[in-house]
Amino acid sequence: MSMDGADVGSTPKRARTRLAIDVGGTFTDVFVLDSNGNQTVAKVPSTANPIDAIMNGAEAADIDWHDVDLFTHGTTVATNALITRNFKPVAMVTTEGFRDILEIGRGTREDPWDAYKEGTPPYVRRRDRFTVRERLNYRGEVIEALDEEQAREVARILHKRKVHAVAVCFINAYVSGVHEQRMAEILAEVLGPDVAISTSHETHPEIFEDDRFSTTVANTILAPIIRPYARDLDRRTSEAGYEADVLLLHSGGGVMTPATAEKYAARLAASGIAAGAIASKYFAELCGYQNSIGLDMGGTSADISLAENGHLRMTNKWEVDWGHPICFPSIEVLTIGAGGGSISWLDKAGSLRNGPQSAGSTPGPACYKAGGTEPTNTDANIILGRIGTSLAGGKKSLNRDAALEAMGKIAKPLNLDLVEASLATLRVANANMADAVRLISIARGHDPRDFALVAFGGAGPLHGVDIARELNIPVVIVPPNPGVTSAVGCMLVDVQHDVTQMFFKDAALADPADIETAFRKLELEGRDRLERDGVAAKDMTFQRFVDMRYRGQWRSLAVPVPGQVKSMDEALAIFHNEYEKAHNFRREDFPVEIYRLTVRAIGITPKPSFPKVVIDKNAKAVPKGTREAWFHGHAKAMTTNLYDRENLPAGVTINGPAVIDQLDSTTVIPPGDVAYIDEWLNIQIKLGAA
């Protein structure tokens, strides 16, 4: 199905086009922006081979690949392979005595209290993990030479087993790759060029063996999946007429070329999640907000991200399965089990709860009449008149009676009527989501009152204002196409590599010249990688970060430094300030140590520019009708204006209570709040502005 989004102006023939496609688990979202500023969106079902959906999506959006300047792509291929464990077995070679580091990890459990909640096995089975005698110490000095005879014996067995890929992970290889390199050579000699061999010092040269091994192994298992995928995608888009490089969105919020993706396949592990966060930040900035919280809420879960001063929060540890970390920098996204399908229920003490169980898309909420009988958030929304009985432009009809019947399950024991029970359901659901936002904001020193909330995904605009009110967030932004916002995110990023080096030094004793030398070396490496991606020198920029901490602490803080560190005092001042901001206290007189240096190498890609719409001062919002709807703090149903979003011109103001319908979402404006359609056709809702 194709649907026109906010088409603006006329459509001349053969405009040059930017194309972004985000492949998700259920749907593949397409966003097109042409050189005349016309936007097109499309949504097609995802397919077994995701590339089919990409080609279908392009067709649905009426794309001629010859016209496409740049195609960027977010994918869940890597994530799904890790979730479903659908990959070919690989082997691992490690230092003798450390065969099980990968399986032991830190040995922790996700739920410390439930012995019947299963963990997940390591990505490489024990039978496929081999050891050789070798050892470096923490200074990188050889204290036991690599036993080459044994190395060859391992290679012989791996050859006999016909392995596809091998990860070489030695202790202390983050200091020196000398033994890993030699082991890789021996393996390559025996196994030939078709077997991919990756080493931990190349993949992730950072301290802590379990994290490095796990990251290297994830990279090794994904390489044989990403390589043919990237090549096929390249081939099929080329055959269709696309001439430039496909750009793949990585977890860190940058893009990379297929060639790079083959080498750092595990950087794609959070590709899909990153896209939404990037788009959220973009729309907030468009509206003038440097601080924003993204709320991407779908049927079963909500993804929450945070940008401060125009920077998305990053994390260096990310995992699909508990205990198997991927330590490439990733945009930090908190996923919680709260969505439209989350079930409202009573516990044994009779207290009202919401989620994390979800009716999902099958059977779905009770109002779908597809077998679901438990009351969900969607059922509450339909009872309260916040969504109508017809969704997706009439393609899906909802049954309010079924919703009412389900809601009876909690209303009766709570001695509430069905409307009260529905309001209660939403209050609990929204409070849960607000608590999740608190963990990512207040708990890290950010005050939500300084932020805008960007609400998207199918259910985000339904709940956004209530959640914002819970957190005292003053404004909510709903982008033009909430359901395909993530696809927009794919288009908004640069080529980006993060190159790091461990650097252990007392800050007071560190020589700025040594730091400069190390940074220059990292920048050279970054420059090499950008060149391999075909980025022109004029489009390259480099950002520097120093990870520091008070001596004796365990976590470090990445502090951005502007160019050359001229004196340590300057770097320390930045650190003390950043530290206090994050943790509410500082220890000015206490020694600080440097832990790691990072260079973020960025290859600037041309960004699409979204056209502003000329605001017509005389424009009016014309409701298509009214409906009775209920809101918190108002005992009686209120007559609520209904609008179609496609008919709302820029510049109009709508006072709540109001409901704005569009194909992929519904936006609720409660009484007392005021919505404004801005010149990019975002809905900006100011809380309490009426």
Binding site: E103, P112, K117, R127, N137, N432, Q553, F590
Partner: protein
């Protein structure tokens, strides 16, 4: 301050009795609307988790960093309102005690900006390292509750680095005891007090850093509670503090009411009291469910012992509560739970209710672990679908001395704990090398970090093949970790563990795993067995120390384990071909070791299983002296002794421990023998049937 005199509820010190039916709350009705209640309940969880997040990011002690900490909110009486969802198990059930201790000592002399400190096990604490920082929370001048951040400091002074001193005659030899005292007064930092505390430890600057990090975590809670008061009104928050406890009580009572009434008994053992004749030290539990109430009685447990493996009442209460919580993982922990589940730790002066001034730094390796695993065993009879066998024992290896890599030869401390096997479960194997049940979030440290911080070279960190207790569901595998000091002097080693003799047991016919214990220079001429508890033992630069962590105990008769699963275990090299035959009676043929191809010899397996089934009862009656001699000559190894013959030796010299063996065999007669020959499916059906009849 309020100006009013408070009524102080005195601490019960672990002596509790089931309340009469009239005092049991069975219906929950919130004075608040149900939605506000639910919102606030979640908000309290959120606040304690925010405290955890703050502490994790700012702490100095690597022990805290590895999650040996807890965070709590209490009402003005000190009763616990909420505790962190990722808190370490060994602290649960102690936060309200230490809060009450501060209240008892300071009464009304509590002001905005005050911060208190306490680590006293004789006032409900766990051990000295677990130092608690408490802040009274005020709203517009009214005192409305307490926030508490409890973290394990890496060193509390005393005679031994890390403050685990097995030779301590009393707590004075262990470290610094901090009775309730103030470290901030009305917002003013009491540097003199803090310096005195810090100066009695081996790393004063870290101690000051942790004190500030914990105090800041409590400030986070106060700030958030004030925000809630602004929004909902202070009376609502006070009501919610009370009602969250009521709610948990009602929730727990309703769950208990569905279970049969009855009384069950458990007995587990600490290895020894070196001052007494050899023999296991029994810890006894009588467990009763009476309607909607559960009560544990530890009376009759052994008198306190001469080592530090004693628990004061806080540590014992923690073990019971933590074990119970495993049966109800979704239940929040607060004082409401402690109304529905009561514990009588029994008469003072026992190993589970140690009196001043006994040493009890090792409560965690000693009584705590025994109580928690006993509770698992008790509940298997009531909720067989959640059965879990015994897990390996918490252990700490401490290597300390002077680090000659640096000028000034500073102190170094390599303070290491291991992951090990968890017990088998109903229809599922136990978890391999997992953090102790003492705290499943208590992650092991990466050795690359350790090698930078201390001059200790780790030589292995690997699974121990065959370490899992055999059973129809086997235990998880234990691991091994060891190494040597490469640059240092005046090196001493200490070890805090247990279960070298009271070996991690199997249940429902399952077999024990392997003993804990440290070895020096294993497999060489200079081999020495050091056992599972020792302090300040000098070693040299080339000495290699190592120790296994036990696997988990097996559950169900190992002769009934599916031979294909045994073959799978052999393929993964979790189990050797030899032990597959000895422990499981499964005969495995090696098809191609290079390709990891193995298969079951079915005919030989049937014959072998019959041979074992016919002989095994007799093995448990075999003359233990003959088995001991066989161990010394190499005919039997440690697994043969423990699993097949139930014989416990001094694993270093092979001398028989006759009393210990007698007790250990009695335990196997109780836990294993009666169940042999019946599958887990049948056994849990029978348990369910017993429960049904009793109900």
């Amino acid at each position: 301050m309020t100006g009013k005199t408070k009524i102080i509820e005195l601490s019960d010190k672990g002596i509790q009795f089931p309340p009469p039916h009239s005092e049991r709350m069975t219906v929950f009705k919130s004075e608040l609307d149900p939605i506000t209640f639910e919102v606030l309940r979640n908000a309290f969880v959120n606040i304690v988790d925010q405290m955890a997040e703050q502490l994790l990011r700012t702490c100095y002690s690597f022990v805290i960093y590895c999650r040996d900490f807890s965070s709590g909110l209490s009402d003005p009486q000190g009763n616990l309102v909420m505790q962190g969802t990722g808190d370490i198990a060994a602290h649960v059930g102690t936060l309200h005690y230490t809060c009450k201790a501060v209240i008892e000592d300071f009464g009304d002399d509590v002001h905005p900006g005050d911060v208190f400190i306490i680590n006293d096990p004789f006032r409900g604490g766990s051990h000295f390292n677990d130092t608690r920082i408490l802040r009274p929370m005020f709203y517009k001048g009214e005192m409305i509750g307490w926030s508490q951040a409890n973290g394990h400091w890496a060193d509390m002074g005393g005679a031994t680095p890390g403050s685990f001193n097995i030779t301590a005659l009393d707590h004075m030899g262990e470290g610094l005891r901090i009775t309730p005292m103030r470290v901030w007064s009305k917002g003013v930092w009491l540097g003199d007090v803090a310096r005195m505390i810090a100066s009695n430890t081996r790393n004063p600057s870290d101690v000051i850093g942790d004190m500030q990090a914990q105090a800041e975590a409590t400030a986070v809670a106060e700030r958030e509670i004030q925000r809630l008061c602004d929004k909902y009104g202070v009376e609502t928050i006070k009501t919610a503090f009370r009602e969250v406890q009521d709610w948990v009580e009602v929730l727990m009572r309703n769950r208990l009411a569905e279970l049969p009434d009855g009384t069950w008994y458990a007995e587990d053992y600490i290895d020894q009291d070196p001052k007494l004749e050899e023999g296991l030290i029994p810890i006894k539990i009588k467990f009763t469910i009476d309607g909607n109430h559960a009560h544990y009685d530890l009376s009759g447990s052994h008198p306190q012992i001469s080592t530090f493996l004693n628990a004061a009442y806080g540590g014992s209460f923690a073990g019971i509560v933590a074990g119970t919580k495993y049966q109800f993982p979704d239940l929040p922990l607060n004082s409401g739970l402690y109304r529905a589940v009561t514990v009588n730790v029994g008469e003072p002066g026992t190993v589970v209710n140690a009196e001043w001034p006994s040493p009890c730094a090792g409560f965690c390796s000693g009584p705590f672990e025994k109580l928690m695993n006993s509770v698992f065993g008790l509940w298997a009879e009531i909720l067989p679908e959640r059965t879990m066998g015994c897990a390996f024992n918490l252990e700490y290896l401490l290597v300390g001395g002077r680090d000659t890599r640096f000028e000034g030869r500073p102190y170094f401390m390599w303070y290491d704990w291991m992951a090990g096997g968890w017990g088998g479960r109903n229809g599922r194997d136990g978890f391999n090398a997992t953090a102790p049940v003492f705290g499943a979030q208590y992650g092991v440290q990466p050795l690359e970090g350790q090698e930078r911080l201390a001059p200790v070279l780790t030589k292995c960190h690997d699974f121990v093949q065959d370490s899992a207790g055999p059973g129809e569901s086997r235990g998880g595998l234990g691991a091994e970790k060891g190494g040597s000091v490469f640059e240092g002097e005046r090196i001493v080693v200490s070890y805090c563990c247990d279960r070298e003799r009271s070996v991690t047991w199997g249940m429902w016919g399952g077999l024990p795993s392997i003993p804990h214990g440290v070895w020096l220079n294993k497999g060489t001429e200079k081999e020495r067995y050091l056992g599972s508890i020792f302090s300040n033992l000098p070693i040299e630069l080339d000495d290699v120390f190592t120790r296994p962590s036990a696997g988990g105990g097996g559950v169900g008769d190992p002769l009934l384990r599916d031979p294909e699963l045994v073959c799978e275990d052999v393929t993964e090299e979790y189990v050797s071909v030899e032990r597959a035959r000895i422990d499981y009676g499964v005969v495995i043929r090696v098809v191609d070791r290079d390709l990891a191809l193995y298969e079951v010899d079915e005919a030989a397996t049937i014959a072998e299983r019959k041979r074992i089934a016919d002989a095994r009862l007799g093995w448990l009656d075999a003359d233990p002296e003959i088995i001991a001699a066989g161990y010394r000559s190499g005919e039997f190894n440690v697994m043969d002794c423990v699993r097949q013959y139930g014989v416990i030796l001094d694993w270093g010299n092979g001398q028989l421990l006759a009393n210990t063996t007698r007790q250990f065999r009695e335990m196997m007669q109780r836990r294993a023998v009666p169940y042999w020959g019946r599958t887990l499916a049948v056994l849990s059906q029978e348990a369910t049937e017993r429960v049904r009849v009793a109900a």
